[in-house]
Symmetry: C2
Subunit: 647 residues, 2 copies
Amino acid sequence: MTPAVSALRTVLDGRWAHVREDTREQMGQHALSADPDFTTEQYRAWTLEALKVLTASGRPNTGFDPSVGGEGDVGGVVTSFAMLAYGDLSLLVKAGVQWGLFGGAVQVLGTSRHHETYLRKIIDGELLGCFAMTETGHGSDVQHLHTTATYDPSSQEFVIDTPHPGARKDYIGNAARDGRMAVVFAQLMTRGEKHGVHAFLVPLRDGNGQPMPGVEITDDGRKAGLNGVDNGRLAFDSVRVPRENLLNHFADVAEDGTYSSSIENETARFFTMLGTLVRGRISVAGGAGAAAQKALTLAIRYGEQRRQFADPTTGEEIAVLDYLAHQQKLLPALATSYALQFTQDDLVARMHEIQAPGKPPAGAREQRMLEQSAAGIKAIATWHATHTIQTCREACGGAGYLSENQLPALKADTDVFTTFEGDNTVLLQLLAKELLSDYGRTIKVGNPLKIAPLLGRQLASIGAERTGLASALRRLPGLSLDLTDRRRRQALLETRRDDTLATAIRNLAPALRRSNDEFTVFNSSQDLLLTAARAHVDALVEESFRQAIERTTDQDVATLLRRVYDLHVLSVIDRERAWYLETGRLTATESRRIRPLVNELCAELRPHARLLVDAFGIPEPWLACPMLDGAAPLPATQETAEVAAAG
Amino acid sequence: MTPAVSALRTVLDGRWAHVREDTREQMGQHALSADPDFTTEQYRAWTLEALKVLTASGRPNTGFDPSVGGEGDVGGVVTSFAMLAYGDLSLLVKAGVQWGLFGGAVQVLGTSRHHETYLRKIIDGELLGCFAMTETGHGSDVQHLHTTATYDPSSQEFVIDTPHPGARKDYIGNAARDGRMAVVFAQLMTRGEKHGVHAFLVPLRDGNGQPMPGVEITDDGRKAGLNGVDNGRLAFDSVRVPRENLLNHFADVAEDGTYSSSIENETARFFTMLGTLVRGRISVAGGAGAAAQKALTLAIRYGEQRRQFADPTTGEEIAVLDYLAHQQKLLPALATSYALQFTQDDLVARMHEIQAPGKPPAGAREQRMLEQSAAGIKAIATWHATHTIQTCREACGGAGYLSENQLPALKADTDVFTTFEGDNTVLLQLLAKELLSDYGRTIKVGNPLKIAPLLGRQLASIGAERTGLASALRRLPGLSLDLTDRRRRQALLETRRDDTLATAIRNLAPALRRSNDEFTVFNSSQDLLLTAARAHVDALVEESFRQAIERTTDQDVATLLRRVYDLHVLSVIDRERAWYLETGRLTATESRRIRPLVNELCAELRPHARLLVDAFGIPEPWLACPMLDGAAPLPATQETAEVAAAG
């Protein structure tokens, strides 16, 4: 590793640098790649073996409470987990299901009786489990899922039922083959009353792996990717579990069926419960970020060595990364990957401060802000991964289409990241509505969703559609016409964040005054809401990147990072320049200057492209592929000894 | 089929409606889907069997010359071929390799001696073959590939050699398993002189399937998709073939080694030869179009039946296609799919007029224009497919990730369409340079690539970066401010086509005056060239769609199509509105009006969405999937009887 790579990596590694280094060291010794020609059954078997190696490494301890022998390093485990995306994504997801979702739910939704009985077995992989929330008919709308858990005081049991096929639990990882128990989310009914969604521990299979009575398990079969994970469907027919199997951190049912909860309002309780599960969403964002980094590393290395068409002057063939169009495909995406890594680290640190053992209890506002950021960053990071990996595949041409060169698995495996742990469009809409609510709270008026008319009047004076603002902005102290001025660009992102929200409110206000049809009103403003959410996240990402550079003491690294930052921010402004022009934030002359600036930055960063991807520190054995060395494909192996002891 | 579907389908089916109907009828009786859990070997075996069923149907005759028993229906075969994308894309590609590329090359590059000896066997599937053009080190730059064919007058043979590993033929369909012969592109050397790339018939395997002496065949292995096609690599070590194996339509070598050609200039000869192969590129565009149509059909049907979140007013759950954001994902893409279908049909008809037997020989200009259009439309149609299928997968959520619901195969199989038959970026750049050349020819000045400085001066007065043009445009007779005016929108697309080309020339001109470094000059204008090419295709597509509506006699159909046309054209203007604002073609007020217009059109077309996809006429058995009927997954079958007799 050159000193430049080392210095840059130190900055990029951030607060959990030691975890990253440990993980790299453990991983770096192993080739971790499944045979692309595995059948589904072979790949599932391979992944289960890999999970055992992971268990043996002791890493799953990291995130759990010290009370059950864990290290309580919440930030560390999420950081380390995401790095599995450098290796095999089925292993990452299976590990995430087992320890993040299943184990995590037992920890945060359960109480000591569950912790003592199950957590050690979960950590040690003796009890493999599922997180059974999503239903065939209810993916995004979890609050209204249809599975029921009806309390029977005569036997002191809950009776779990799937009332119709649309209420089957679906896409459940670990269900089709390996899981013995599930955390099942169901509508709790007791004494004839419905109390909303709660979580229950439900045994799925007996010691011989046979389904328990009343449990019907079917297989989701082959998927676009992640075929090492055994996703399946669960249906329950009067399945009885003891009263104690309710994960009762937030609510409980007494022996006689009396319901009690520390949170009175059903909706508030539901969202509080869900909020504790924020770690899953953050982990997905991290995994997506790492997968995009790997794709960029492969494509940039290939782009440096691949030559095509001769220079008419010199007769020498030109490296494809020297073509402007190729740089435009890869380098802005690389800059955004840097931005997202710093953003992700900030997010992980915020979560750590709230969730790690021994931290003071988080305020509702802090928790809510964390959930908002997690929703928005998950959406943006996973779409970034989908687009970037697609671009990298195309940038590697035919070689990028061969499984031996790893891009096909990266693309196929991460494709569902935009869907699971919350559909991206739904998440951004959720974020937008939260932003409206926050605004409502700021100005201290009643039910936030109902105050849009009021907000509309208040905000009328700062509405977005003013023209001539570009010149006004330039008259602000310290801001110049020149788009190379970082303060100007920062202000552009912040303005967009504020004004797109104001525009959404201004559009909702008169419509809600005119109509009681809330669906139609919100639906007709849906694109404005999504725009506002996106702009909010863009500003958040800019802030994280900017602050990371401010913290950087190595001046050479800081200088390089500033150019990467410039490319990222200019790319965002470039993408949204129609909005800036429409709202008068940029003049036509300024707008036309953006693309040439992006091109100049691409040319400037081109010589540093290899350094920038090497700094991600992806273990070299995990990057090995024939297109990068002309060697024969690595022989695939099913031996578990080859599986990384990582996590 | 309702009368509305029938009437719309008639218009959409166009000139080759009878071929489409025949193909549907043959196909409609069969379920044509490979088991998603096939190993590579199983899938290849399945595809070969499917190919035999296709052979037995007699369809491959359609495109070949009557002299060998074919029907000479060039347009018909391309139309029918593309419809295989509704079924299994591996079969489509394997058929394309066998009859389109291999058989097609023998027909257009060979002469009667090759036709008589080989074409019947090729049509009947007795002789399976490869099209060995691409090399590991030379994908896009075919003119400079490194395989050599050196004439040896002593034995009257050509000696084929692979001088280094980078000159291996790579990604060659039919090579790894089934092909017995290949059309090999190699640099022809005779009497110590090099004459550029020519095509040779080279036997690959003997009757027992063993590689011929000197032929090394390796397997490309698993790919992202298309795993029913046996792609492989070919290397030649002093492989000798008779002199007569040169496909000698454009050039020949006499017994004594004398070279002769009807086209003196080596580069001109190369591009003439390549030009005859334009059918492959057009077929890929057609296949991509059909795949996107199938994805949209699946996603729109799902979006109509999938319900999520209750309407707060009525309490009823809302179909996801009723959400504006969902409509924005699918309906503009559907409108563009309509536009591309009409464009494709025009392209096929132009090709038919040039290539079908009995047609008068095409002029150089006609041929060149066809190649330009094919390059541009291939790029735009395949990117459209990649983006649209991705969007459809996401729009179907978790269900879209399951193989049983067909979207994963559509995505993975078509992913390489943006790469093969010409990398899209390279194709658009080629188109742009051709457009520059055409401009040069129009004003009758020497070498087109060298006249940019002159063009620059000539074009200075019509350069793109004028402001205030929006108001000027509105003063043109018949044009109004209102973006609902179709003439205005058509003018906007045409203006963009003309002005982006002028801008590219204006930027190249002074740079070429200043510098002799042609690479640097063109490279720094690469994005302008790509923009001009894209704008050219956008205008072409608009024209095809507009003319198709003008031809439509059914007034109800015409009315509906006009709204689809409106949505397509407005989406293009929306995508490019930053450019229109920067160049003063749209005012900020007008630009802000576009998105609401798009939204209104989405709402207006929403009730017709099902009709619009049903009109594609995809055979119902090929659309069957559990997410659309809640039924159990179709049992996968390996039986060849299930394979469609289609083509």
